[in-house]
Amino acid sequence: MTATGIGASPRRKEDFRFITGKGNYTDDINRAGQTFACFVRSPHAHATIGRIDAAAALAMPGVVAVLTGQDMADDGIGGLICGWMVHSKDGSPMKAGPHPALAQGKVRYCGDCVAVVIAESYAQAKDAAEAVAVDYHPLAAVVDAKAALGPDAPLVHDEIAHNMVFDWELGNYKETVDAFTAAAKVVSLDIVNNRLIPNAMEPRAAIGDYDSGTGIHTLYTTSQNPHVARLVLSAFIGIAPEHKLRVIAPDVGGGFGSKIFIYAEETVCVWAARRVGRPVKWTGERSESFLSDAHGRDHHTHAALALDAGGRITGLRVKTIANLGAYLSTFASSVPTYLYATLLSGQYDIPAIYAEVQGVYTHTAPVDAYRGAGRPEATFVVERIVEEAARQLGEDPAEFRRRNFIRSFPHQTPVIMAYDIGDYEASLDKAMQLIDYDGFPGRRRASEAAGKRRGIGLSTYIEACGIAPSAAVGSLGAGVGLWESAEVRVNPTGSVEVLTGSHSHGQGHETTFAQLVSERLGVPLENVEIVHGDTDKVQFGMGTYGSRSGAVGMSAIAKALDKVEAKAKKIAAHLMEAAPGDIEFKDGRFTVAGTDKSLTFPEVSLAAYVGHKFPTSEIEPGLKESAFYDPLNFTFPAGCHICEVEIDPDTGVVRIERFVAVDDFGVIINPMIVEGQVHGGIAQGIGQALLEHGIYSEDGQLLTGSFMDYTMPRAGDLPSFQLGLTTTRCPSNPLGMKGCGEAGAIAAPPAVINAITDALQIRDFAMPATPERVWRAANAVALAAE
């Protein structure tokens, strides 16, 4: 291992600009002559819209235009789309209502965009937005997914009965029914997965720009996948032909899923720029992020586990109602279905699984992928019910899990996934050792002696990452293939540019991708530049989400590097008058095997561009190769997280005393960056378990619409984390990587809740475990006696 190659932790190349204030985020960009947009948003969760009177607004200083949904329709601009088709049990396709970027006739959630005011300054646009008079006729709203299915529930889209988007199933129904009939014991649990609001620290932003000379539209935007945004904006929404639309995602301040989607505001900016003939800039305020970024989770689930007399799991049955919000966001339908139920086997050998999921419209913000996307919801169900089963059997939860682990690979689950490799016992053992599991009873006694309660909770999770392969996702309804592309350009001086379809918004690709190149070509890290986030520079790519950039994005780079090496060897062979098969390439040097003849990588790079050094009739000049990589399978990172809490029954405050995470991510490029990803994921997972909750009032007002009401995890809420690794090399991609971005968010919530329910000796506790609710639970007996 070199100091900068695979497995080393060089400090990040991107950091210098961020620590000196030289980052380049969308709001930092200004275009000559730009105007500013402010959106008029619905104050009602459900209303029909009569007249929109913009006269007063248009008369205000600096106002350039006020545009509505009618203007968009007049220009032939289509609605936003959902790119993943899901079919109901009866074979019928999901029912999706129209989703205009600016409302047409009706608003369906609080914050729905009704009109846009464009002015010379943002302050002027905002002032004028207040003056747009919209004639609303409020209607009854429904925010709870279960209630929305009711016979008298108000309809979000008039044409969609019972607000039911789909009624979907997965698994082996008959075997599952038989397993429950034959079961020695059945354990069941009702589980709520709380609605979360992603809150990347950089609010969404967009600048639309239009060049009337060339007809080219440019959209600068906070996107995790600029190419997909371009494709959707051109092919489906009809903003501009694909070759006349450039999408640039510069530095992006966190995404966590929320910046995958193609939203109304970005769409409007690029369209409005053409319409008003000037650049249009919009930067969301945090309140707008709360209202209009796609939310996450929001599931109600009933789960039941069948056990045989020996304490082996023989079946799992799950019925989930998933709140999808008022419109189907870009990937909304895939999250509670194919990204959720396919992971319900967890780490366990379960012969029969049957899941039913109803996707439901409500008058709330659209719900889509948020860090983990379906997999945290699945893991929460599995790890909560497994814990409950162990407790009902009076058994140590670690031993119950151990007995039921999958032990041979590949393993085909009843819910599509074929796990390629893993060693679940290794991570369980290591985590138990790191947290000193055996010492827990002593620590519990010490806490009790001090008037506190202490609990410990395990979570042995699995996730499917490296979202791909195309054939598999295509057969499940994805509207796009999920491969990745890369292009490696070697300059004549031997420095290297890598163009990747992945996008970095905190993951450190500029460093880890360069490490791979440095290791393979023997060039110093500082001579490698990673280019991403611009559809004019990178030909196509699928972007970054689902922990896919390592396993898929880097594999594409590795494939392109293979081609570079092969061609460079041919050129080196000519230069040294040897057969290509005799050339060895190692540490940046081409050597004729068994001789002392050698050339450095920069020497060969230069020669590649000096055409007379080799017969260009046989070898084309230049050294640039590209590759598209489509993996064989998903990857399956897995591990064990253990949380130990202490609860003060007088205050209800839950303190996380220890948090141990042992993960198997396969081969790791940069351990420092991987640890950072795990820390961040755990913090979001603990946030979900203890603090965060997106709450709507019954009439559809968002009650948690700011950082004053929605509790983000702060430094004082969290402990330092103790991390460990176990490794099984992933056989499904050339680098052996699995992905690490979501593990913490997936594994942490059940670990925390298992610890809290253990501490309080109660069966269940709904997230988030806020002090007030924990205090009530801790004092339930005393409260009941009052």
Binding site: Q677, P713, A715
Partner: protein, 161 residues
């Protein structure tokens, strides 16, 4: 419009601004110093922290006109003579940033925190002092490490001086 003059990163600047202009807007838009970020609209996140007369303030919560005559230092003014401030160094060394959006505010807050705690900083104090800064990426683990290290390094330097 109101005239306002101040020193920003050692340079005297003046401009006519609308009285309602926030200091952060003035810095980002008039001075084109975009290192200072806006992460919220309720003075909660700390992405906007700068130093006004040597003290950390949330520049989204101060009007530009309130900084009349003051000396303002932003993240762009922290490195001196091309040399990074020890807190900047520590954030890079300890991987105290991911997307970088909260980072300028975190660093400016940390510099102020270390100044106010010449006795040194332990983990509990750092975590309590970070109450006003939100990071969604790092889980704070490495931010705490970075501030501990910077505090130790700066204390050591002072002791040596």
């Amino acid at each position: 419009m109101t005239a306002v003059s101040m020193t920003v990163n050692g340079k005297s600047v003046s401009a006519d601004v609308e009285p309602r202009t926030l200091l952060v807007e003035y810095l980002r838009e008039n001075q084109r110093l975009t290192g200072t970020h806006v992460g919220c609209d309720t003075s909660q996140c700390g992405a906007c922290v700068v130093h006004v007369d040597g003290v950390a303030v949330k520049s989204c919560t101060v009007l530009a006109v309130q900084a009349e005559g003051a000396s303002v230092v932003t993240i762009e003014g922290l490195a001196k003579d091309g040399k990074l401030h020890p807190v900047q160094e520590a954030f890079r060394e300890h991987h105290g940033l991911q997307c970088g959006f909260c980072t300028p505010g975190m660093i400016m807050t940390a510099v102020d925190m270390i100044r106010r705690h010449p006795e040194g900083l332990d983990e509990a104090t750092i975590r309590a002092e970070l109450e006003g800064n939100i990071c969604r990426c790092t889980g704070y683990h490495n931010i705490v490490r970075a501030i501990e290290a910077a505090s130790a390094a700066m204390g050591a330097k002072e002791a040596a001086a």
